[in-house]
């Protein structure tokens, strides 16, 4: 925003309060109320007006306070933002970035803890990013803002506490490029969001058991960096997919399909999936913890693929 007047942000409670998760703290003071806009509680209009502004060349970043409430803006995201380019024969672009956050781990209950990124990877015309580290957020957000398509940009609530040294200069990270967090020989874990960090813990534990784990974070879910994932699986011959969203019918199923199709002859074990149980996220902390996956679930899945501790 310091360099480009076309970039502005709007959303609920993002100004004085700096957003419900303090992400935009300090921005009002620096950029003023026209470029850091508190909006009425109107998710549909937040996205819709963002589309309008984007249509005439601005690069808006709009915030939906909880990803659970993208539901209220679904028409604008799915039928409008995603379709304008196509329905104008490529002549109209909607370079809009929709930032949102969510996830369990702090007991917000069934309507404030969901992980809904898989709804959007299924919509042609949208790009979907799920960033899991501070430097990834920075580099990917830059690329999302300057992408000529609408990008859904997911953040996980419990990762806001992460800290990382950062260079002054922004280093853009191209959309559609996975990150290999850790190299390994025996099992590939493809993980997103909070599960990247759970997978890294599980990988460290597996190492104690003599299993070498490679952890790959696609970072962009749509388009998906199939090449990096498939190359990794061809090296390790085993694959676990891990995300916090519900396992069934999830993003992990797509990764599993890609892997089995492109690396079938290399696989030594069925692709394992780790995710939430197919239940609404409970309010009660203990039960929430049971429903969502942890490092132990990733470790179990790793062990299953290498045939240890099998059930």
């Amino acid at each position: 925003m310091r360099r480009d007047d076309d970039v502005f942000i709007m959303g609920e409670d993002i100004a004085e309060m700096g957003g419900s998760m303090a992400v935009t703290q300090g921005m009002l003071a620096e950029f003023g109320p026209e470029r850091v806009r508190n909006t009425p509680i109107s998710e549909m209009a937040i996205v819709g007006a963002g589309i309008g502004a984007a249509m005439q060349g601005m690069r808006p970043v709009v915030e939906i306070m909880y990803e659970d409430f993208t539901t209220l803006a679904m028409e604008q995201i799915v039928n409008q933002a995603a379709k304008h380019r196509y329905m104008s024969g490529g002549q109209l672009k909607v370079p809009l970035t929709i930032r949102t956050q969510g996830g369990a781990g702090w007991s917000p209950g069934a309507q404030h803890a969901q992980q809904v990124e898989a709804w959007f990877v299924h919509v042609p015309g949208l790009k979907v990013v799920f960033a899991s580290t501070p430097s990834d957020v920075r580099g990917l957000l830059w690329s999302s803002i300057y992408d000529d398509n609408t990008v859904l940009f997911f953040e996980h609530r419990v990762l806001y506490g992460l800290k990382e040294e950062m260079p002054d200069e922004i280093e853009p990270i191209p959309l559609g490029k996975a990150r290999i967090h850790r190299e390994g020989e025996d099992v590939t874990v493809v993980a997103t969001g909070r599960l990247v960090h759970e997978a890294l813990k599980a990988a460290a534990a597996a190492e104690q058991e003599g299993v070498s784990v490679e952890v790959v974070d696609p970072r962009t879910l749509q388009p998906l960096d199939e090449e990096t994932i498939v190359a990794s699986v061809k090296k390790t011959s085993r694959c676990v997919v891990a995300h916090e969203a519900v396992t069934r019918m999830g993003f992990g199923a797509e990764v599993a399909a890609v892997v089995q199709h492109q690396a079938f002859d290399w696989l030594d074990a069925p692709v394992e999936r780790v995710g939430s149980k197919f239940a609404p996220i409970p309010f009660a902390p203990v039960m929430e913890q049971f429903v969502v996956p942890h490092d132990s679930d990733v470790l179990d899945a790793i062990r299953r693929t290498v045939g240890r501790n099998g059930r």
Partner: protein
Amino acid sequence: MRVERDLRRVIGDGESLPDGEVEGLDDADLLELYRQLVLLRTYDERSLVYHRQGRIGTYAIFWNHEAMQVGAVYALSDDDWIFPSYRESAIGLLRGMPAATVLSWWRGHPAGWWNPADYNVASICVPIGTHVPHAAGLAWGKKLRGESACAVAFFGDGATSEGSFHEGANFAGVLKAPLVLFCNNNQWAISTPLELQTAAETLADKAVGYGIPAARVDGADVLAVYEATREAVARARAGEGPTFIEAVTYRAAPHATADDPSVYIDPARVEEERRRECVGRFEGYLRRRGLLPDELREQVTGEAAQLMREAIAAAEAEPDPDPELVFAHAYAAPPASFDHDLAELRRVLADG
């Protein structure tokens, strides 16, 4: 359509503004209203303490909102339905719901799952405004069935920016549904003040476009709220359709326990509003009528405090929930996949 822009008031200020009266309310009614106000106030103040003690989770404070809830519900009969937002979480207490039930809800315990049909109090709606269409539909259903009951939807000033509110209100207007749209205009939506929420002069004006009459009342005046709601309910029962009530008050407390309003609210204004809070104002009214000797006040507050002590004890005495409940209620008949997840849960519990 009729929109009353002037704030209705019944309670005076004990100085230049004289006290009024509501026809049909006798002394016993006034004392019952007082008892209910104190009950909600005590519930709210104790809840804040319980939250700080880690005994309940994040809690949406409703301090200075009690008069709207008590006044409106007093104008209903028991078969009328109430659709609360999180701000009216304890409104069931006015229908005889045990305080332990509501505390359990805020504790994330299944004992907090009340059956809406037991109290005609719908589940608490946390997504903003999305319950307004439900209330419209329920009210319409009552009409179709030839029942005389109506519905009241409670929502905030911020909720009037949501499509759900507008579509629900329009529906109710077209269907002439027996609905009261009760807007708690506390002038804030978390950190967003009313003037950033709408350019309309009043929220009541929004009703005009849907052919719905509207009144504005002082939301800290339990009697004015009661009277306006009683009229709205009478219209609903007479088949005249919905009414919009804008109750104007001030959120003189944080949005919820997790909120720090000091970054966006002027503390002097909050202090000023706290001096005008609704329970104290009604106490002044009762005193001026000689209805509230000190012993009675102490008795009423003492009873409410005792009720809360028993309620938190009861909520905390609830046995740990059966973990299998996680899978019990999402479907009437759980899909086959649940067996697998349930088996895993049992395995985890056995290991643990």
